[in-house]
């Protein structure tokens, strides 16, 4: 990460930055494919971030992640981007693997979009793939945090619903 591991060469960085729009758009399309076709059509619209918060949040998250992949891998920024996307998918109708698989979907996009550069200029994606693996590990942490938080919220809500009644009946049990 920031300490210089998985360093990406200046040439690779330049190529990746130039192709940012097309790669992020295709990556986004790959995520949209995990939704029903009618939904994907809606999620694709980006004009209104408040009318389409899911599509907008996912797109912005991917954009941010891509920038970090190409440049510094600032851990705080990476986590914020991943959190935005995973927080949504962690409560939608996906299995855990389906919820986080989007991290790997960029691989095919990169290979397709950069085929010319890989063949002609000898561009290697190995370093980038190492970074993706680190991201993949982070997705587990974030996914689990979201799911655990969901259960904590549930317990808190049940406790709050009865706490005043228990307090009044002198039955207050202080469980940390």
């Amino acid at each position: 990460m920031k300490d210089g591991r998985n360093y990406i060469s200046a040439t690779a960085c330049e190529i990746l930055t130039r192709k940012k729009r097309v790669i992020v758009d295709k990556w986004f399309e790959k995520i949209l494919e995990t939704y029903p076709a009618d939904t994907a059509r809606f999620l694709r619209e980006k004009e209104d971030p408040f009318g389409n918060p899911v599509g907008t949040t996912i797109y912005r998250g991917l954009e941010g992640l891509y920038e970090e992949l190409c440049t510094g891998m600032d851990i705080a920024k990476v986590k914020a981007c991943l959190d935005g996307i995973i927080r949504i998918r962690a409560v939608q109708d996906f299995t855990p693997s389906q919820a986080v698989a989007f991290i790997f979907h960029i691989k095919d996009v990169l290979k397709g979009e950069l085929a010319g550069e890989i063949q002609e200029k000898g561009l290697s994606l190995e370093d980038l793939e190492d970074r993706l693996e680190e991201l993949a590990l982070l997705t587990f942490d974030i996914y689990m945090q979201c799911r655990e938080q969901l259960w904590e919220i549930k317990v808190k809500e049940i406790k709050n619903r009865t706490s005043r009644l228990l307090q009044r009946a002198n039955l207050n049990v202080n469980i940390p």
Binding site: P53, V54, T57, D93, A101, K154
Partner: protein, 540 residues
């Protein structure tokens, strides 16, 4: 031996959903995304049909033998009774204007949550049995036979609609999908397929007068608990009365304000305000609930539960009724009460005893919303307010669906907030007022077993809160609905940590300068008051 899949087959994970038509995708009941079925004792308590132990996850729903006949007959009867239903069944041209307006569609990404498709669940059955073209052409005409799978789909999706009416704002024909949901829920109730989170409050309300089943002595006790807390904070002992005959006004709040935080702080606000202005009012321990889960069950049940308020008003001999910060109670009062149980001609046209203002809008129902009442007090300079006591708060306001879309109550709560707080910020235009996004847990869906789905449905609202949090540092979401106060803490915790939830009258209670009060050191939550002069006046 059964053939085992090969490693490469196991690895061939398909992340794409099937491309089948909506009619051919059966519904799956997975924990966290559906609501538990009604317990028999709760159906029996109010005489609803087919009480039995059952679970939506089980294959056999233990339906009556002639359940199809019951539902189709029920639909026929309702098509005759409700002209709107007949129009809503025939008028939709599937233009799609409503499709992306539902918070559940936006949050779940499930096309059957598009209001047009949700309505289509009922409409397809209507076509099959009530239209000639549907009878002849079947699926070609979008008609569909009523099977057990269809019934299960109804249960899943009609209890995945909060009847918030946002979609109806955008429909060029004015089709109100909430009314379609209401009818579908009525039909489901005919064969015993209600959810317990609705059936239990209905049974409790019918028996004790409130959703939680708090009995009179406990209700009084809970209110007095708040009285003690007010005394600790202000040095003043407020003196609410209960079931007092001859009081001028009957006050009815949602019971959520009596027994759960942060609603209790709102209740403290009401009590302090009434004491300060010397209002002649009483609580009723029998009409101790503003909410009416009958609205989510059937028209008959709504009428039965609503009637208790007016029966109590009559028994106690009050002049009119003042209602607290509740959501769907106001839809019942404003849109149904008058034709169901009204006109309440044994009551008087409400007049504020403090300002003399006539509430002509409540001429027939005789019931005034507390934010109208308080806004009128402020406008007439009848109370002293110190908004700096709320300087630690940067407030935004969530228009609760029912007061907003069923009453048009947009300005009064904002007027109050701007007078009791100095930092107020609006969420984006297409997420407030008439276009407000639902909390995602209304219409009886605020159960804890439904948490995952609630997080999906509440995401559009939370997303707008997140925007004002990032832009203006908003840390308080104010609202005028008890369901909001009950469910927003969970929603904010998941999507926008750092934003708390309060009723508008909690903010009033903080700012209210009471005659003879001791120097206040804390807010109603017992938190230290902000240091004076520290924060600049901000907001809009």
């Amino acid at each position: 031996m059964a053939s085992l899949p090969k490693p490469d087959e196991l690895l061939a994970v398909n992340h794409k959903p099937p491309r089948t038509g909506w009619m051919d995708i059966p519904v799956k009941f997975r924990r966290g995304t559906y609501l538990y079925g009604a317990k028999p004792k709760n159906l029996e308590a109010v005489g609803l049909p087919n009480p039995r132990e059952w679970s939506p996850e089980e294959e056999d729903w233990k339906l009556p033998e002639n359940w199809q006949e019951i539902i189709l007959e029920g639909l026929r009867e309702r098509l005759g009774r409700f002209r709107t239903l007949q129009i809503f069944m025939d008028a939709c041209v599937r233009c799609g204007a409503c499709a992306d307006k539902c918070h559940f569609f936006i949050g779940t990404g499930d096309p059957k949550n598009m209001p047009v498709l949700r309505a289509e669940l009922l409409r397809a059955v209507y076509r099959k049995d009530f239209t000639t073209a549907g009878r002849l052409l079947g699926k070609l005409f979008g008609a569909r036979e009523l099977t057990v799978d269809v019934l299960k789909e109804w249960y899943y999706y009609f209890f995945q609609c909060t009847e918030c009416r946002r979609c109806s704002v955008f429909c060029p024909f004015g089709i109100d999908t909430a009314e379609i949901t209401m009818i579908a829920r009525e039909l489901l109730n005919l064969v015993g397929c209600n959810i317990d989170w609705i059936a239990a409050p209905v049974a409790n309300c019918y028996r004790t007068g409130n959703h939680v089943g708090i009995e009179p002595h406990a209700f009084k006790d809970m209110v007095e608990f708040c009285v003690d807390e007010i005394e600790n904070i202000t040095g003043i002992r407020v003196e609410p009365t209960f079931n007092r005959k001859g009081a001028e006004i009957l006050f009815i709040a949602p019971s959520g304000d009596v027994f759960a935080d942060p609603g209790t702080y709102t209740l403290m606000g009401y009590l302090m305000l009434f004491h300060e202005i010397g209002l002649d009012y009483t609580f009723s321990t029998y009409a101790s609930e503003g909410g009416n889960f009958g609205l989510f069950t059937s028209h008959e049940m709504m009428k039965r539960l609503n009637a208790k308020m007016y029966a109590e008003a009559k028994r106690l001999g009050v002049k009119w009724i003042l209602g607290g910060e509740c959501g769907h109670m106001w839809r019942v009062i404003n849109q149904y009460m008058d034709t169901m149980n009204g006109p309440a001609d044994f009551l008087e046209e409400p007049v504020s005893p403090i300002t003399g203002t006539k509430f002509a809008n409540a001429r027939s129902t005789k019931m005034v919303h507390i934010v109208e009442f308080t806004a009128d007090l402020i406008r007439n300079n009848k109370i002293k307010l110190d908004p700096t006591r709320n300087d630690h708060l940067r407030v935004t306001f969530h228009d609760s669906c029912n007061p907003a879309r069923s009453m048009g109550l947009f300005e009064e709560p904002r007027y109050i907030i701007k007078n009791v707080c100095r930092n107020f910020y609006e969420m984006p235009e297409n997420t407030i007022r008439g276009q407000t996004f639902c909390c995602g847990s209304g219409a009886g869906l605020n159960s804890d077993e439904y948490m995952e789905m609630r997080m999906r449905g509440g995401f559009p609202r939370a997303n707008a809160v997140k925007y004002v949090q990032e832009k203006y540092g908003v840390n308080m979401l104010a609202c005028i609905c008890a369901v909001d106060r009950a469910v927003f803490p969970a929603l904010m915790n998941y999507w926008v940590p750092g934003v708390d939830v309060a009723g508008v009258h909690e903010l009033v209670g903080n700012a209210l300068v009471m005659t003879g009060e001791t120097s206040r050191e804390t807010t109603l939550r017992g938190e230290p008051l902000p240091v004076k002069g520290k924060e600049e006046n901000g907001g809009e």
